[in-house]
Symmetry: C2
Subunit: 360 residues, 2 copies
């Protein structure tokens, strides 16, 4: 097979790029080839601060990196409002695309991105790291087990963290021209993805935003929530907030089983992660205790979840580059579904909390 290492470029020196650059270094089938920023100085400082080896190129513009023919794929951690421009350009330059979430400001923009990815034959994957943790596969096993879990009936997700005053004033995620979806795009994204995950990626029929969302002066969402309804009677609730203590919950209640996880986007510890699974839970005869009780499942991993992500992305890119493979459609498909639900929540907020039909 020869060379199967995928050469990745990073455009944008966001904080999260520190973690992903480490993941690229740790992934056995990827290597960091270049980093590009709006200024050469910024790119150099980022490379130095993160201890990049000397062979990593630094570029003073995103275009220059995209024009480097050695770059197979780019990781794009730019503010959401810039995604459509740079993701489209990257695809046009035949660069495979690992794009930060939320993937776009709305589905129309995202469709532009995936159209370009499709017509240029490049792999698209969003940067939802927890999807790639081996625990997630174990949870999916449980959720798809008709005997242990049955059919999902109720799903709940919550992602909150307590942003400090500087974040609430200056972070790109509270700026209407950079990340207009605010908390909904940043952490509501994970709630929506988790709900879709637990619903086997079946889109809800209707979405209704909760009332009393918290917006900043510029109209960016700092806290909100929504209820999702499926035609088969399934219901999901989520809440996301920049204004409460760090909380990352997913609960899925099925006809026969229940799943609980309290750190679904980022495990409490890097090398092991667990979840609780109850099946046909019940009380004893006199209703004094549970019998059986839920059990705890722990999954160990040598690699952090973001390394699993980069490895899977690079594997898919390698299959295209070296084995004439086709891009895997699963990833853009679930990105689009996530974005469709985000759009509906935003529309419901802007429409006096009316029910919004999801149209695929």
């Amino acid at each position: 097979m020869g060379e199967t290492i995928i050469r990745i470029g990073i455009i944008g020196c966001a904080d999260i790029a520190r973690k992903v650059s480490r993941a690229i270094a740790l992934a056995p089938n990827a290597t960091l080839h270049a980093v590009g920023s709006r200024s050469l100085d910024k790119a150099r400082k980022f490379a130095a601060a993160n201890g990049f080896p000397p062979h990593v190129k630094v570029y003073g513009s995103y275009e220059a990196l995209l024009d480097d023919p050695v770059v197979d794929a780019v990781y794009v951690p730019l503010p959401t409002s810039l995604h459509v421009h740079w993701a489209v350009l990257a695809a046009q330059k035949k660069k495979h695309l690992l794009l930060e979430k939320p993937v776009a400001l709305n589905t129309a923009e995202f469709d532009h991105i995936i159209d370009e990815c499709e017509s240029n034959g490049v792999q698209f994957m969003d940067c939802t790291m927890w999807m790639h943790h081996p625990r997630t596969a174990k949870m999916a096993e449980f959720l798809s087990d008709e005997q242990r879990f049955g059919l999902p009936r109720y799903i709940h997700a919550c992602f909150a963290f307590s942003a400090d005053p500087d974040f609430l004033k200056n972070d790109i995620r509270v700026k209407p021209d950079l990340d207009a979806l605010g908390a909904l795009g940043d952490i509501g994204w994970y709630c929506v993805r988790a709900i879709l995950f637990a619903a086997n990626y079946e889109l809800p029929k209707t979405v209704i935003a909760l009332r009393q969302p918290v917006l900043n002066e510029a109209g960016v969402i700092l806290a909100c929530g929504a209820t999702l309804y499926w035609e088969d009677g399934k219901v999901a609730n989520f809440h996301c907030s920049f204004l409460s203590n760090l909380t990352i919950d997913l609960t899925a209640v099925g006809t026969k089983g229940t799943l609980h996880v309290h750190d679904f986007t980022l495990p409490f510890q890097e090398r092991e992660a667990s979840f609780s699974a109850g099946s046909e839970s019940s009380f004893d005869d006199l209703v004094t205790k549970w019998d059986p009780q839920p059990s705890r499942h722990t999954v160990n991993t040598d690699l952090p979840q973001e390394v699993h992500m980069v490895r899977e992305f690079s594997r898919l890119v390698g299959a295209i580059k070296f084995n004439n493979g086709k891009p895997e459609k699963k990833w853009p498909t679930i990105s689009r579904k996530s974005q469709l639900v985000l759009d509906a929540v935003r529309t419901s907020i802007d429409s006096n909390f009316e029910p919004i039909l999801i149209q695929e």
Copy 2:
């Protein structure tokens, strides 16, 4: 002080009365004096099946038990539709009242009950056992700690269990003439109480039922949910269902802390119970793990929670009977708040999911 043992009578031989009669036997300040059923034969069988000692009287009618002058207090596990009649009569006969939940079919009925309790100087307490578990006091300590928890911002509760076909056909909780509130009254009650508990018993301003409640042919609720809104921006969601795997969750997210408990109405085990508490939770610098992580708090108890309940009820009754005390108003007050929220959920379901203002 002399005799301080409270003599309790039970009217109605419901399943749950088995557990409460055991609790009365175990409570150091209470004794089971009598049991009454609609037939003497049924009362005798219940006494025999539960191994009541020979001094426990059996009555073939509820009236006869209420007319026994030795009975200080009655425990009433009758179907909800019968509460107002028998609770009022008990209060008029000066019997202190331990009443099963939901306390009434609606707040108007409940007001009739507490009016009679007040004018007759008897103690009222509903039978929400978990309120009396020592773990609940520990959780209340955490939730009221401004440093560790801050102010509540989001609360989530879920109570589901998987009812078998016989229950769904024959149980009093699915009969419109007996327990018209169905799952909302039976287990939604606990969700609402838990939410109020986490909100320091502050009533929400508005309640909106979730769409797609499941009703049986007679219109009794088998599954439903609601969102509660407070004027200060707090939001709560709950879901209750007879149609999913046993799940009993309370999550409270505050500005500084988060509480999780997965068995809040009935601990997994009888002698120990735990909850998880996170405070100022955060990630490490590179966002690879939580630092600090939430901690687990375990509370041991020699007595099951229902014994704590009977002991507290009997203590309050004893204070009235032997020490010229006044009835403790906390208990009827929080019962009434719970009922007000249940009423609003039902009204919202019956009003096409319109927001319902809570009027105290």
